[in-house]
């Protein structure tokens, strides 16, 4: 990033591009938009988990002539949400596979008329036996998907695992569970669709991946590429929850628009959004680990299973990331990792920040504490003895070329959190009182970008163009949804062009304007797309300099003059760059072996908790999040990402529990699905190390998902440290803690605390 200029834009906290509009209320979300003649749409959903539709009847008390009604029969193209396996219908035609499955669509000019109309549609079913848990699905006594209820399996093998058991001083086994989690973006899912025969379908929506929606609409509507246009509106949060679901709601609005010839808006309320859309995959992980006398991992078997819900959707990809992260940041001389995604009759689980990694890493990091206990060394020492080092290989046999030093990272985190002094103090203080304190750590990694060959398949294209006024525009399909895409990509382009940040803008993602730079997922935007933006921006400079219009160093005014002259002569000034896989990268999709990710971010998190034995609740009192992320492009945004991710993961660990009844979420309201408030959160202290990364723009790696991975195990490790009770399942609610204490040692704990209380 040597710049001839004094100006450094990358690495500084410039104002957010859309910040002023968001603060002043000028930002336009989809529900702020109204089109002439627009109708409102609503969805009639299944009330059963599995079965056949026998009959649909319409209550004669409703003026149905005023409504547009769409069923599967009205679909002009293929009745599916095109994604990977195309197994999910857009509207159920005959078969129901989960509660709340869309069956029929209604639209009306008065949105208040819709609710009663939805209830006036009666659907008669023939019920079939449903499957409601991962365990039930595995038993295969009822087959609900394919021939074996399995969406996808992976097997990772390294070394000779079968030979290690006889050499082991200890064999440590453990079973770990994580629950579903709702993304809870502030803005619910919503879209507007319009249709006319000349222009085809246009969808404006709250979404992460304009080209995913584009692809799904092509198949559903049976239209050619130039007759489908997708525009991303300002998006109020996503967290993965707007990766695949917008294709569904966009499809619904498009079908209503095509049938009525009028624009149709569908915006879910919170209850519908929570009950019907995707959540984080529940998981179960089993570890069996062979360990030497001095605590070195010799090898192990890991079995990781996720509950995918009723359709395949993204489960195979979530499983892939969970599989590759299952071994954590440790060196495994040998390992066998068997994983699968199974079907249940619940709405499909989907993308959510971390994407499988928080699940398998929760298990790994709880298991490390368990191994430490069995070996008889500290949670710190067990990690030090097993950390991956440069030159060693991961479970997929990817050689670590980065100069990562996890030992020092851990030491720094312990120092920042005052770990040892606190441990000592709590050991004394915990002897009395009803608040027990503990410290827990988690060390982990998160791969940035698509897995293995994924980036090669995506084949992303980005553009940068300059106008005659010298203003540069970044053209990408990467979406801003609060994480800072707009700002960071403009910073990168401005730095590459030696221009002030204010002179670079970003185009609104619109498939008729921006090229397909891939989905806005997988912590890939800053690293992969950022690098392409940087190259495209350099391309503008090179074009102008090759034309003899620009020297090595220049002022913004000279740049403007050069642009004006170039455009006068050639019509336009645009530079496009396509993803080019780094040479020597090897990935075997069959054996799941090779370079899984171009780069990893590395982290050590330390949680300090107290457990209140009067209410059995856990409070996180302090949290240190230390991570190596290559290069911090925007300190304020980066810290915000980490803080927000840690907060969301505290919810995952201690608060957020989806209550299922017959495959349906029954606590689909924010009063009963508990996410932590600011009053529940500790100071979250964020620290970075920046070792750089040759694959990312200015050395950046991905950071968006990383903070979701570590907090849950760190917190549950800290709870065990505080009260000596082992928990292997999250969310860990006060009721769980109470029941466990009942089982273990309630009497001892209360009698000692009560007597201190009485004599104080």
């Amino acid at each position: 990033m040597a710049s001839s200029n004094e100006r450094h834009i990358v690495g500084t906290s410039v104002p957010r591009k859309e910040g002023r509009d968001k603060v002043t209320g000028a930002a336009r979300y989809v529900d702020d938009m109204t089109l002439p003649g627009m109708l409102y749409g609503a969805t009639v959903r299944s009330k059963i988990a599995r079965g056949k539709i026998k009959k649909i009847s319409f209550d004669p008390g409703v003026l149905w002539d005023d409504f547009v009604v769409v069923t599967a029969k009205d679909i002009p193209g293929k009745n599916c949400i095109a994604l990977i396996l195309d197994d999910q219908p857009c509207l159920a035609a005959e078969t129901i596979n989960h509660p709340e499955e869309p069956i029929l669509l209604l639209a009306h000019a008065d949105r208040h008329k819709l609710r009663k109309a939805v209830e006036a549609v009666t659907i008669e079913y023939e019920s079939l036996p449903p499957v409601h848990s991962l365990e039930e699905s595995e038993k295969q006594s009822t087959i609900i998907w394919g021939t074996d209820n399995v969406f996808k399996k992976f097997l990772v093998e390294k070394g000779e695992v079968d030979s290690v058991w006889s050499q082991a001083a200890h064999i440590v086994e453990g079973e770990y569970f994580t629950g579903a989690q709702e993304q809870l973006y502030i803005e619910n899912n919503g879209v507007i669709a319009s249709f006319d025969p000349q222009h085809g379908v246009t969808v404006w929506g709250s979404l992460q991946c304009p080209y995913y929606v584009h692809k799904a609409l092509l198949a559903l509507c049976g239209l050619p590429e130039n007759k489908v246009r997708v525009v991303q509106m300002e998006t109020g949060g996503a967290f993965g929850g707007k990766e695949e679901y917008p294709s569904m709601i966009a499809g619904h609005a498009a079908l209503l628009a095509m049938k009525s010839g009028r624009p149709v808006k569908i915006v879910y309320d919170r209850m519908e959004d929570m009950v019907a859309t995707t959540k984080r995959h529940p998981s179960r992980t089993r570890h069996r680990t062979a360990v030497s006398k001095d605590g070195k991992i010799l090898g192990g078997e890991i079995e990781f299973v996720i509950d995918g819900g009723a359709y395949a959707t993204l489960s195979s990809v979530v499983l892939s990331r969970g599989t590759i992260h299952a071994g954590g940041p440790y060196y495994w001389p040998s390992v066998r990792i068997r994983t699968k995604a199974v079907a249940t009759n619940t709405p499909p689980h989907g993308a959510f920040r971390g994407f499988g990694a928080p699940q398998s890493l929760f298990a790994m990091e709880r298991h490390m504490d368990r191994i430490a206990e069995v070996v008889g060394i500290s949670p710190i020492e067990i990690r030090r003895r097993n950390f991956l080092k440069p030159g060693q290989t991961t479970t997929t046999q990817q050689t670590i070329h980065e100069k990562i030093d996890l030992d020092s990272l851990l030491s720094r985190a312990l120092e920042l959190s005052d770990y040892h002094a606190k441990k000592k103090r709590f050991a004394v203080e915990n002897k009395t009182g009803t608040r027990k304190k503990g410290m827990g750590i988690a060390t982990f990694l998160h791969g940035a970008g698509f897995t293995g060959s994924g980036e090669r398949y995506l084949n992303s294209l980005v553009g940068v163009e300059a106008g005659a006024d010298g203003v540069v525009r970044v053209l990408v399909s990467s979406a801003e949804f609060g994480q800072g895409t707009n700002t960071v990509l403009c910073q990168i382009a401005a730095e590459a062009l030696d221009l002030p940040y204010e002179n670079v803008m970003i185009a609104q993602p619109d498939t008729t304007v921006v090229p397909n730079s891939g989905p806005t997922v997988a912590s890939r935007t800053a690293m992969i797309v950022g690098k392409l933006v940087q190259s495209a921006a350099v391309g503008i400079k090179r074009t102008l300099s090759n034309a003899g219009l620009l020297g090595d160093s220049y002022t913004p005014e000279q740049f403007r003059t050069a642009c004006r002259e170039f455009i006068a002569a050639h019509g336009a000034l645009k530079s496009e760059v396509r993803y080019d896989a780094p040479p020597g990268v090897y990935w075997d999709d069959e054996k799941y072996r090779g370079e899984a990710y171009a780069a990893f971010a590395w982290a050590v998190y330390v949680a300090e908790v107290s457990v209140d034995l009067a209410s059995y609740s856990v409070t996180v009192d302090d949290f240190v999040a230390l991570q190596e992320v290559g290069k911090v492009l925007h300190p304020v945004l980066a810290e915000g990402q980490i803080t927000g991710g840690v907060a969301q993961a505290i919810g995952f660990a201690l608060y957020e529990k989806v209550i299922w009844q017959d495959g349906r979420m029954v606590n689909n309201q924010m009063t009963n699905y508990i996410m932590p408030t600011s009053a529940d959160l500790p100071p979250i202290r964020v620290f970075f190390e920046q070792n750089g990364n040759i694959h990312g723009a200015h050395g950046a790696k991905g950071i968006g998902e990383l903070p979701m991975d570590g907090p849950a195990p760190a917190i549950v490790n800290a709870v065990e440290d505080a009260i000596g009770v082992r928990f292997n399942s999250i969310p860990l609610l006060p009721e769980d803690l109470f029941e466990a204490l009942q089982r273990e040692s309630l009497e001892a704990v209360t009698s000692s605390s009560n007597s201190t209380r009485g004599t104080r």
């Binding site: 208040h112 008329k113 609710r115 009663k116 309320d269 209850m271 009803t434 034995l613 009067a614 209410s615 059995y616 609740s617 608060y655 209550i659 029954v666 606590n667 009063t671 009963n672 508990i674 996410m675 932590p676 408030t677 600011s678 009053a679 529940d680 006060p734 009721e735 109470f738 029941e739 009942q742 209360t750 009698s751 009560n754 007597s755 209380r757 009485g758 104080r760």
Partner: protein
Amino acid sequence: MRADPTDYKLVSPGSLQGVLSLLSAEPKRWLPIAGGTDVMVLYSAGKLPNRNLVNLWNVPELRQLEVFPDRIRIGATCTYSSLRNHAIVSREFPLLATAASWTGGIANQNRGTLGGNIANASPAADSLPALLVYDAELTLVSLRGERRVPYREFHTGYKKTVLAPDELIRDISLPRRFSGYVTYTRKVGARNAQAISKVCLAALGRIANGVIQDVHLALGSVAPIPLRLTETEQLLIAKKIHSSLFGTVRRTLIQEIRPIDDIRSTARYRTAVAGNLVVEFLGKLTAESARS
């Protein structure tokens, strides 16, 4: 929003007389609405059965908070914010001021009213245990006249009260006789703010020469109604606090409460926490009495 606004009617008489006349003429037809923090949630979810609403928000007679030498009289539509910010309430009735600070967020506290909280009669309401331990008295009015009801006799079953269909709660009186008492209140909810309680205890007591002279205990969320623990109170009177007493206290308390399993928690958990909170209160009572 799931309701159709054209299905609903709201009238706003602007005076107590006007509201009572309406209730008297068609007693079961009208649902009084003050701040709307309960009613509008149901409305928005499309679950509000009452189609005819009568507005209490602009009835001045219900808004006053008056201080007398022996009691304070809180108008039924006094908001949580007004209670939190009132000097006498904060000083002499800290359990009520604290409960007001727990209810919803600031916007809810600016709209939500004490009378509404009572009339809505949720066993999980934050302010009701405090009213129970302060021996609150309600004034109920209708065109037929007014009557005074001890608050502890107001709730008769889950969401059932002695309020007649033509009656309104006009005010809530609290006697000013608890200045020497040790007070304790704790809400155990699913999170530290914006939560519905799983268990909520309000308690006050007085010790002389190491012996309990007077003690009031009330729990929310452990029975169909907010519950005053009269048996447990009786057990404690004239006793010295010692940990050997706690087992009996817990057993007596278990006899009094009727907690359930629901979407928020379990009966077992609620029972244990209720006992823990009472024990925690007794600890505080001992400690603070020893200090003074």
